[in-house]
């Protein structure tokens, strides 16, 4: 008897997370929330990688996840700094207020 959760379930969950993240990026107007949605998409990919690694019974996917987490941490550091810089200038982080350049 095997009670393990099937890989398909993980992949379905990761797809749902990915689509939620993508919709968040496209629909939200607050820079921090957009950024969180991007992180959600990255984590969806991480979940898929780990689930696939279990399915194939090897470590490559898990290793990949470590690198993705490191990259995501670097992205957070840069992203939050940029959002602070914008807030200092405009007193707002709504991306609809970012329209100094148009044409």
């Amino acid at each position: 008897m095997n009670f393990a959760v099937p890989t398909e379930a993980f992949i379905m969950l990761s797809m749902v997370l990915f689509i939620l993240g993508a919709m968040g990026v496209l629909l939200r107007r607050n820079a921090i929330l957009i950024f969180m949605s991007v992180e959600l998409m990255l984590n969806a990919a991480n979940l898929a990688l780990v689930a696939f690694a279990r399915q194939w019974g090897q470590m490559n996917g898990q290793l990949f996840v470590f690198f993705v987490m490191t990259v995501a941490a670097a992205e957070v550091a840069v992203g939050l700094a940029l959002i602070v810089a914008i807030f200092r200038n405009k007193r707002s982080i709504n991306i609809d207020d970012l329209h100094q350049m148009e044409g």
Partner: protein, 508 residues
Amino acid sequence: MAEFNFLQSLPSVAAALGLTILAAVILLLDAYLPKDKRPQIAYVAAFGMLFVAFTPIIWSPPAEGQVFWGGMIRFDGVAQIFQVMVILGGALTALMAINDSGTKNRGEFHLIIIISTLGGCLLVGANDLVMLFVALETVSIPLYILAAFRRQDGGRSAESGLKYFLFGSFASAILLYGLSLLYGFTGHTNIPALAQTLVSGGGALGDNVVPMLAALLLVIVGFGFKISVAPFHFWTPDVYEGAPTPVTAFVSVASKAASFAVLLRFLLAVFPADLVLEGQSIQAFWVNLLVVISVVSMTLGNVLALRQSNIKRMLAYSSIAQAGYALVGIAALQSADPTLGVSSVAFYMFMYTFSNLLIFAGVVLFSEATKSENIRDLAGLQRRSPWLALAMTISLLSLAGFPPAAGFFGKFFLFQAAVEANLVGLAIIGVLNSSVALYYYLVVIKVMYVDKGVDEDQAIAIPRPYAWVLGIASVVVLLLGVLPTQIIDWARSGAEAMQHVARLINGL
């Protein structure tokens, strides 16, 4: 797997190691040099990178190319030519930053440029999904910082940085999901092993075409953002306009060239011609998709560039169009002999790198002297600084594809590859688009040479580092235009090495 030999593996990362050491040196100099000596850091960075640019040439890869570092890096002719291109782009950018108001006297600028260049060097040889993703982010994340580098401009630079960051990280997440699906289908992160499993039908995919197309689509959308082709180009004009000009130059050449290199490698290796699922060729699908993207971005870029008054914004739309032309060469990979497509893209990116650096060096000088980025204010530039006007003319002619500058052969090779690959229609659209583009490039030349300016009596001096940038880039652009054979032969031999991998995959 062959036994690990450190000395033999070294050349493949020699450039990357050199850049790492250079970055450490710059960091120390920035921390310990007295304040009045800090401007010299730019020279250390620029000449250090010029020096490092020779390492891939001195330690050239074996003719067939070889895989190093546990399958992470593939060092072959294509990696070599793109490494040289990216490092030279970084070096000229460092020189260009010396007098720019947004970047001058800031040592950390050079540190960040070097790290981004380092990412580019690793990216062009990436042979593993992990390497590809990490290198791509090593190129991009420093550029998000650099785009927001200028502080005293009412937030335009910060705004462009945030926009670049949000679009860029969104694109990376999409790309990553595509890569994770590819890993799931095959159980490999190594690109050749992954491709082999797909072609032999040994993966988990069976004969299902839909998941494969989904993964392909995610990957192309991800790369589409990075190389700024329509319809994924929204960020380009704002980032180009708001970022400090040297950063714009670097974003438009080095990161784009590296992304094109890896896109070539990826599409050719992972989705080759004989990958057929449910009786449908995957290659036909991506070629058609790229043809559509290429036509849309050429047309959109050129038409929108026509009505720009800010020169950096005009160049942003022009770069969208140029990326569209380069995609013609990638679509031409469907030909029986993909070396033509690969080498034409390599040549095109080479000439585009130098032409774009040349024009942006001109823009830095002009906007520092006049405090304006408006094309109208270029009026009478020929009387104010004949050499500057001449250099900008050379690069504009090259971008327009006008002989004797390099752009002519760049476009010629691309369209030739397209015709060989039975994409005559695409080649015709490309030629028509080039003639539209001719208009807005020539208008700038006309403004510089014919129009009367208000302060024509005030000469614009060209400081020495800029004279070097303008000189080196003009000579390269003209040489490539007169004697293109050297570079195209180099690119062809590199392309054959890449082709060798594709044959290996198909043979097994």
